[in-house]
Symmetry: C2
Subunit: 520 residues, 2 copies
């Protein structure tokens, strides 16, 4: 009855130690801006890359990144969290431009980079195409992490995240096809590629829907917070693995599951408290995994091979940037022609310059089979380009946003709204305390609670007043907010009438009209 | 620049799949009581063991438990969470009995089991001693999980958890010494054993204090919730690994760190909101790991070798139970003599019967070197005994608690809540009767209804008052209930704000901060 372990004991202990070391370094980096305020200008994720690079300079290699590690372990939770927080209504509004960017943007990027490298650097077409394919998809992780930290408006975040979450389907198909080509087991032609694309995306969406709705249904049947929280974690990883095993895009699968659970399942199946706890848990998990991933990206760099391939890297960067500008310009025009949704030129500029590449590109490059001759060149180039996008583009996007006046007062509004939400919530608690008679509660306790809550409300009011004084613009914003609230009350009342059968449904579109005008 | 991975890609994917499978089964088990209410009588952890056993019967083996997996991966978070929630003031009050049980209880148990097995079953003394040592420590995980679910009073939980968290130091020393003995590299004698014991415990406490206070100091310097949350996780695993590497008891180390951070660091260094989020995170993690561990314990059982060793298992169980009774009786007497703190006979009875063995015993048995002749017998016996304690003792402890009147007021609370619910419902009916004017209803009828309802409410109020008088403890419970209601109102408001798009991210109920202070 000797029990044997699946992985060696040594491996478990060693890996655990390595990851603890990585985390300790990352957490140290996270506290840097607290000590030296100068560092506050640099987003956390980019600071991690820089520190990782610093470690690479003195040849301290913490953990070796492998494609499976990136794709199966780190990616699913990050994708899930991004999708969980993406609002379906926002996504729906910009569905056309996002799809155009995600599908055709990838094709244009691959073609441009490959032709540029082939013509200007004399790289073989096979290698050039693989470099192009590895770098064709913008990285959901890098983009999301950066844009959230910057506090950009909802529209831009939706466009950017939407593209980066969905363009993987196309990139993976293209990459798989291009890897198979030189090995002689790919069918050339427009039709098979198209078929494969729809298959990869279709399987992803199908499995994602299946798991997403199944878990939504399950969580609706019971109220077990811990189990529901665990289920979100299990669903993220399971969707990825099952989809990949069935030949679909795991990324598309996880994103679908995350969208469904975040927008639908968590609303119908979880009580509000559970939903908050689960959201907080995912926020933490994303922070945790990002802390590891970005440090390791920096730490993987081999400067010698970067130097050898400097020319190729420069050409790739140039081609990529030019092609992204072209693609965005054309596709945005196309999007306006197909729908009314306009992507303004400043927004296009940010989308263009904010198209960072990250861990997915690295994972793709690392998974080029060793038998292919250009592998080392591909890996070195991709690392170089990723580093350029993260450090040069990533660090300059904030000034660009400011210049284009797109950063707005988002952080201020957020802060203001939080204060308002808290104040309203506490008002309700106070009301409840004052009206609800509950036998057996010590009146002294209720009085004490009332005093606590009243004090808290007064404090919040002071903060709100202070904000109003400092930023007179908030007044407009507040008025707008208030108008929305009145409309919401009206809409709710109509909805109630319709629901109880006292009003027929024909009236609903009219209301939407009213609300629609207000919004524009 | 070919990058090589530390663990094979295959191994990562396979292990991930195995664990997802285990978790899915466990979560399925967690929902069982929702479907078949009969299962509500069995605590979740024991239900997992039973389902695991069921899988073992049909020879479905999910993951093979190894000592490193149990000790390095599963144990640290569970120990940390238990210690984080253990109140220092409670622990201090019962420090003497806990230490007596933890140190001398282990010695008495080893001696008793070894002599019993040697005399009654003719087992060689080496093997008998190793069986005794593996089973000498009560399992913190099993005990904590079970006692929390049952809703036992604080005193008993403190005594039970305190003993099981600390007796590992003694057990590990004894086990290490006894393993070294037949291999010929141990020094016999009272003094070296004592020295080693102090060394193992001392290193654990020292490293635990060092890391605990260092992190407390660090978190006091800044307010970064995510970083602080990550630090608790890093500290749990790091303390374990570092302490073990330095030859100390990792368990003692983690427990020390957890105690310091939970009682001291989280109060001086974290804002109340962070503290609640971190506590929730650890609660979830403990649930998560327990879901894996207990299912796997059941799933590991090999029935054939259990059958072969049935006699030895029976003798071991008998010896263990008898010796625990003797030890508890003597040590409790001693404790009264040394301090004023009395452990009542009913409490002693529960401590005696609730001394479950679990994953730590299994890990110790599995780590017996393969060169020792009795290894298979040791493993089979330990598995058998663990199973007995979990299933027989674990499943009968609740009736015993009820019989001894130690379960507290759980059924009472149920009755009380029903009364409150009816009273609140009738209040609402009354309100409706008084405010809603409905044409065409005879006012006499309304008045009659009002009288009926008012009478009913008064009757309920009398019953509630009576309960309050009889069980003054209910006051706390009522207050707690009320507080939960206030929190729910607040959380609902935030959810509403988020749903209507006025707030991007859900806030954790702030009231919890305010009320958190109440709790202390």
């Amino acid at each position: 009855m000797v029990l044997e372990s699946a992985i060696s004991e040594e491996a478990i202990a060693t890996n655990l130690k390595q990851f603890l070391l990585v985390l300790s370094v990352s957490l140290g980096v996270a506290t840097l801006p607290q000590v030296f305020s100068w560092f506050r200008q640099i987003p956390y994720t980019l600071l991690l890359v820089i520190v990782g690079l610093g470690l690479a300079v003195v040849d301290v290699r913490l953990v070796v990144l492998s494609p499976v590690l990136i794709l199966s372990i780190f990616l699913p939770p990050l994708l899930f969290e991004a999708a969980w927080n993406l609002k379906w209504s926002d996504l729906q509004r910009d569905f056309v431009p996002i799809c155009l960017y995600a599908v055709f943007g990838v094709v244009i990027s691959i073609a441009g980079v490959a032709i540029g490298l082939n013509q200007l650097a004399g790289i073989s077409l096979t290698t050039a195409l693989l470099i192009g394919a590895s770098l064709s998809a913008t990285d959901p992780v890098s983009v999301t992490a950066l844009f959230r930290e910057l506090g950009v408006g909802t529209r831009l975040v939706t466009l950017m995240e939407g593209e980066s979450l969905f363009n993987d389907g196309m990139a993976v198909v293209a990459f798989g096809f291009l890897v198979a080509l030189p090995l002689g087991n790919a069918e050339l032609g427009f039709q098979p590629i198209l078929l494969q694309f729809f298959q990869v995306v279709g399987i992803g969406v199908a499995i994602g829907c299946l798991i997403g709705f199944a878990i939504s249904y399950l969580t609706q049947r019971f109220d077990l917070p811990m189990v529901e929280q665990s289920l979100t974690l299990v669903s993220a990883y399971s969707t990825y693995l099952i989809t990949e095993d069935l030949g679909g895009s795991g990324v598309i699968g996880v994103v679908t599951t995350g969208l469904i659970l975040g927008n639908f399942g968590s609303r119908i199946g979880m009580n509000p408290r559970t939903r908050i706890i689960v959201s907080e848990f995912w926020e933490f998990l994303a922070f945790f995994v990002n802390s590891i991933v970005f440090l390791l990206i920096g730490d993987q760099i081999r400067f010698a091979s970067l130097g050898e391939n400097l020319q190729i890297i420069a050409i790739t960067v140039a081609a990529m940037i030019v092609m992204r500008a072209v693609a965005l310009f054309i596709l945005s025009k196309l999007s306006v022609m197909m729908t009314q949704s306009q992507v303004s030129l400043p927004e296009q500029t940010i989308l263009w310059w904010g198209g960072l590449r990250g861990s997915v590109s690295i994972a793709l490059a690392l998974s080029v089979p060793t038998v292919l001759p250009g592998r080392e060149k591909i890996i070195a180039t991709v690392f170089g380009v990723v580093l350029f996008t993260l450090l040069v583009q990533g660090l300059t996007i904030k000034p660009l946003l400011q210049k284009l006046n797109l950063l707005g007062d988002a952080p201020l509004r957020e802060q203001y709204l939080q204060l308002v939400a808290r104040s309203v919530a506490l008002e309700r608690v106070l009301q409840y305390l004052q009206t609800e008679k509950r036998p057996g509660i010590d009146p002294e306790f209720i009085r004490y609670q009332e005093k606590l809550v009243t004090g808290e409300i007064a404090e919040l009011q002071t903060k709100i007043d202070k904000l109003h004084n400092e930023y007179p613009n908030l007044q407009n914003f507040t008025t707008e907010q208030f108008r929305d609230e009145l409309l919401a009350i009206e809409a709710d009342t109509y909805a109630e009438f319709v629901k109880s059968g006292r009003l027929n449904k024909e009236l609903a579109p009219m209301l939407e009209d009213v609300l629609g005008h207000q919004r524009d």
